[in-house]
């Protein structure tokens, strides 16, 4: 999947939940990605985050991190 596109989509979701406080918005962003992104998209954004996550807004970055499977 095109990382650039996924980053853009994730940041768009972040902006939609920007009105919430940080903890709530991170949870909302993560919840949205969990509910609507297909596994290979999730895998790609997780890998992108692991590689530094350049371009992901800070709350989006936190949300993506929260999607990491428990070790």
């Amino acid at each position: 999947m095109d990382d650039k596109k996924l980053v853009y989509m994730a940041n768009q979701i972040g902006k939609a939940f920007a009105y919430q406080d940080e903890a709530a918005s991170v949870a909302s962003i993560a919840g949205h990605i969990r509910s609507f992104w297909e596994p290979r998209m999730k895998k790609a954004i997780l890998a992108y985050e692991q590689a530094g996550g350049t371009g992901l807004d800070s709350r989006v970055l936190a949300a993506v991190r929260s999607l990491r499977p428990a070790q």
């Binding site: 999947m1 095109d2 596109k5 989509m9 768009q12 979701i13 902006k15 939609a16 920007a18 009105y19 949205h32 509910s35 609507f36 992104w37 297909e38 596994p39 290979r40 998209m41």
Partner: protein, 945 residues
């Protein structure tokens, strides 16, 4: 099987609750006060002769045939215009009346051609019937005097003829055009003997006539008659079915001779259309038997190979083996399917079942992705249900109608006619749209406020309206406290009250003066029942979902929800958009909008289907394109959808389709997407199968087969065959059994069955134990989700912005005579009205570019370029250009971009920054595409045996 006959009561039903008893020909009759004597008589089984009266129109009293005698009253009043009174004693048949009626008929017939045997309306002519009813045996006046028998026919309309020699000037056509359709294209010209029906500009095709067919339907003679009846003859049986065009879902009688459709006549008992129609449903059905129909399955190894016709068995076996091979090679998630909003609920349900149960993933999506997916998300979030709140009849009680990003007179014409009727009765109108749509100013209708906002600023506008409502004390606090989450409301109210949401603050970005925004907000909040109707001008934006929630916020804040005359109403683009969403076409949810991660629902389906199901959401349509380009998605089954023409950023769509190893297209025609396909499975039109459609008001209506499938299989049978070939047998012998399974598995459909639909005509979901006859109005006593949810809707400008390179904003839409990608309507005479897509451009922008009317111009965006002809009009504002997307030669989606709604990926069709310049020919893309298109549609000639 004969013709479905509908009783004509002569005048409309009265709505009074007070009942009145009178006697007609000695028999007591009790009817609502205000009922005409004619209707009361018909109620009691007495048909009073009539010509100018019909129950779809107000009484007129001109033909003088329906005269009656009333005890104690002088004269012989017309029964159509005389209301009943308590104790009235009416006689409908007396020597005086017989003589009068016969005399009237004699006069009519003295100026009427006596060619009944060769007349196209022979057997379906009220004049002929009335001559018989009054016992007319001769005409004493002779036929030598001055008459209208040589008046020339007007055959300009492609679908119906106007023969004034047969006209009795009853005005039914004129009144139908006014009362039913609201176009006012016809009039009675001249006086006395010179009186004649006249369209504006002298002939129908040049007039304002929109070819809705209301005049033809109303005509009691052969004066206005369908060309198809003239050519084919009178139908001998009819079947009630549902139109396959827009989301209004009109009921029609398909009137047949054998397996040939003679005409489609709007069905009076149809609860969505009440006997009205538009040019598409009424006349543009010829595509179903068009010569371009592909009726044999075809396969090919490469998309550059010619197609090879094969048997159904070979095509299905090839499809199955290719899909299985791809999954074996690339994994379970490498294939998927797309359901169609043009197919039935049952067919849609089967495709998503095929994907989930047989493909073993959730890679299923539907064309609602690119139109109303934000509606589902937005209304479910705020109200709890992914659907509109009202029935269409509700508009009759609206006091303020707000139309946002919709063009009902073109997109949903039958509902628009209804809306215009209410507006003529005095309802107020607010239009929020970048274009001056027809509804802004049309005969006897004028918007109180047209807010021509710049494309992309919907949310800013809605927040400003909310700002006025909150800061000027116009909130319906009682409603909000009782029905909504009060804390969320307070947060929302504090948000919209902020200065940056004021009309004054957003006036610059929206281009709409603050005072007009304030006035419109006040009118919506205080004008009585406020009803919002919206379309793709709301959803097809990067904040489409946000805007849907904005409208829900407005409705809740003003208490405009949960009763007749109010609500938030999506005008669905295609016939079964609502149904395709209801049936579980989205990759994240099963039928009834239940998420695939919901263990209880998933377990229920696993038990029902006998197979384990995936709990993770699948790919959406744009994700499928991305994954195909990326190389992880290799096979796709597409039923009745043409993404190459309809989806944005065509170059990317084409790249995705070209990367597939097996693209299976099931369609009526070799559409644009089929040019990239490896298997073509012939589809069946709505006339060739049984099923149901669900319209924009959640109304489930029957689609009934009137002819055998031209290719031998209905679409649902093809899906069944693929499933079986892939090792999963589905056991249905008729679509009614599929609906039975849907009802079993879907709580909102629990009470739906073909038996019930046959009994009630149609039902609106939820239809279950709590609402056995369905639910016309949602959220009456409480929201489905419990408390209504206010959502804070911060305006986030789209990243698609004008610049020196791309200084104009392109927005797209559709036109009355054409339908979406035009696959159906381009194969009808509707091309008379729209033979090509044109670019609307404001005179100012045209002049600065040296563009004149009809010039070929190139529209260029960062995504691509295409050329089309210009139409110069101030319907669009300076800085905005507009076009339709009905013609593949134009392929305007070469220009649209990959920006999409944040929540649903619904494409941002409505905002594309472009440059428009004079052109001397097709764009490079168009030339390349045309060449490819010709090469990829070759069909091999079978070798001689």
């Amino acid at each position: 099987m004969g013709l479905v006959q509908e009783t004509d009561y002569g005048t409309p039903a009265a709505t009074a609750t007070e009942m009145v008893t009178l006697t007609i020909d000695g028999a007591a009759v009790t009817v609502p006060a205000g009922t005409s004597i004619m209707r009361a008589a018909m109620d009691s089984g007495v048909a009073i002769p009539k010509l100018c009266a019909t129950d779809s129109l107000n009484a007129f009293g001109s033909c003088r045939l329906c005269l009656v005698e009333i005890a104690g009253r002088n004269g012989t009043p017309a029964s159509c215009t005389t209301p009943v009174a308590a104790g009235m004693q009416v006689s409908t048949q007396t020597p005086t009346l017989k003589k009068l009626r016969r005399g009237v008929m004699e006069l009519y017939i003295s100026d009427h051609p006596l060619d009944c045997l060769t007349c196209a309306a022979n057997g379906d002519c009220e004049l002929q019937d009335m001559a018989g009813a009054v016992g007319l045996r001769d005409v004493r006046y002779g036929f030598e005097g001055e008459n209208h028998l040589t008046a020339p026919k007007d055959i300009s309309n492609p679908y119906f003829d106007f023969d004034p020699s047969k006209c009795i000037v009853c005005s039914r056509c004129v009144r139908a055009c006014e009362e039913t359709q609201g176009t006012f294209a016809l009039t009675i010209q001249g006086r006395g003997f010179e009186s004649k029906v006249a369209p504006g500009m002298g002939e129908f095709l040049k007039s304002e006539c929109v070819s809705c067919g209301a005049c033809v339907q109303a005509c009691p003679t052969a004066t206005l008659i369908e060309k198809s009846v003239v050519e084919t003859g009178q139908p001998e049986h009819s079947v009630v079915t549902t139109c396959a065009y827009c989301g209004v879902g009109c009921a029609f009688k398909a009137e047949m001779r054998g397996n040939e459709v003679v005409r489609m006549v709007p069905y009076k008992d149809g609860k969505a259309n009440h006997g009205h129609s538009c040019v598409k449903g009424r006349f543009a059905w010829g595509y179903a038997t068009h010569k371009d129909r592909i009726t044999k399955p075809m396969i090919r190894a490469k998309i550059t190979d010619p197609w090879r016709e094969v048997s159904w068995d070979e095509a299905i076996a090839h499809t199955a083996s290719e899909f299985l091979r791809i999954q074996k090679t690339y994994g379970k998630g490498a294939i998927g399917g797309i359901t169609s909003s043009r197919c039935t609920n049952e067919e849609t349900y089967l495709v998503q079942k095929l994907v989930r149960a047989v493909f073993g993933n959730n890679n299923v999506d539907t064309c609602a992705r690119v139109c109303h997916s934000p509606t589902g998300y937005g209304l479910k979030t705020t109200f709890g249900t992914s659907a509109g709140t009202q029935d269409f009849d509700s508009v009759d009680e609206a006091d303020v109608i707000v139309v946002i990003g919709a063009n009902p007179t073109d997109g949903h014409p039958v509902f628009a006619a209804r809306m215009k009727k209410r507006l003529r009765e005095g309802a107020r109108l607010i239009v929020i749209d970048p274009r001056r749509i027809d509804l802004v100013r049309t005969p006897h209708v004028e918007a109180d406020y047209h807010l021509p906002l710049l494309p992309g600023t919907n949310v800013a506008m809605a927040n400003a309206l909310a700002h006025v409502i909150v800061t000027e004390g116009l909130v319906n606090e009682t409603f909000v406290r009782e029905r909504c989450d009060w804390d969320e409301f307070q947060s929302w109210a504090a948000f919209v009250a902020q200065a940056h949401n004021s009309p004054e603050a957003v006036a610059g970005m929206t281009g709409v003066p603050a005072e007009n925004i304030r006035k419109a907000a006040r009118l919506y909040a205080t004008g009585g029942n406020g009803a919002i109707y919206y379309g793709l001008g709301v959803t097809e934006h990067s904040q489409g979902t946000t805007m849907v929630m904005c409208m829900a916020n407005l409705a809740m804040a003003t208490g405009n929800i949960g009763r007749r005359g109010v609500g938030v109403n999506p005008l669905r683009g295609q016939n079964n958009v609502q149904g395709s969403c209801d049936m579980g076409s989205f990759p994240h949810e099963f039928s009834g909008y239940r998420h695939v991660s919901d263990a209880a629902t998933r377990t229920m389906f696993e038990s029902l289907w006998g197979v384990a199901l995936e709990s993770e959401p699948g790919l959406r349509i744009p994700n499928m394109f991305d994954a195909a380009v990326d190389g992880s998605f290799k096979g796709l089954y597409v039923q009745g959808e043409d993404m190459v023409q309809s989806d944005p950023e065509t170059a990317h769509v084409v790249a995705g389709m070209s990367a597939l190893e097996c693209l299976v297209v099931q369609d009526l025609f070799l559409n644009e997407t089929a040019k990239f396909a490896h298997v073509f499975l012939p589809g069946s039109s709505f006339l060739e199968k049984d099923g149901t459609f669900t319209n924009a008001e959640r109304r489930i209506s029957r689609v009934r087969k009137v002819m055998p499938p031209l290719a031998g299989k209905a679409d649902w049978e093809t899906t069944l065959a693929i499933a079986k070939a892939m090792g999963f047998a589905m056991h249905y012998s008729h679509p009614s059994e599929i609906m039975d399974e849907i009802a079993t598995a879907t709580p909102t459909f629990a009470g739906v069955s073909y038996k019930k639909l046959d009994e009630l005509g149609s039902v609106q979901w939820p239809c279950n134990d709590k609402a056995e006859a369905g639910t016309p109005i949602m959220h009456i006593d409480g929201f489905v989700r419990g408390k209504g949810k206010f959502v804070i809707t911060e305006y986030v400008p789209t990243d698609e912005r004008t610049s020196a390179r791309f200084p104009l904003l392109l927005t797209t839409g559709r036109i009355l005579s054409q339908y979406n990608v035009g696959a159906q309507t381009r194969r009808t005479q509707n091309v008379v009205w729209h033979e090509e897509d044109r670019l609307e451009i404001h005179p100012f922008d045209a002049e600065s570019r040296g563009v004149r009317e009809g010039d070929l111009v190139k529209v260029q965006s960062r995504a691509g370029a295409t050329s089309l002809r210009a139409r110069i009009t101030d319907r669009v504002a300076p800085g905005v250009v507009y076009t339709t997307f009905h013609h593949p030669d134009t392929q305007i989606n070469v220009v649209t971009t990959d920006y999409s709604d944040w929540a649903t990926n619904c494409p941002e069709y409505k905002v594309t920054a472009v440059q428009v310049l004079l052109s001397n020919g097709p764009s490079e893309w168009q030339e390349r595409y045309r060449e490819m298109s010709e090469a990829n549609t070759r069909i091999a000639t079978p070798a001689a045996e």
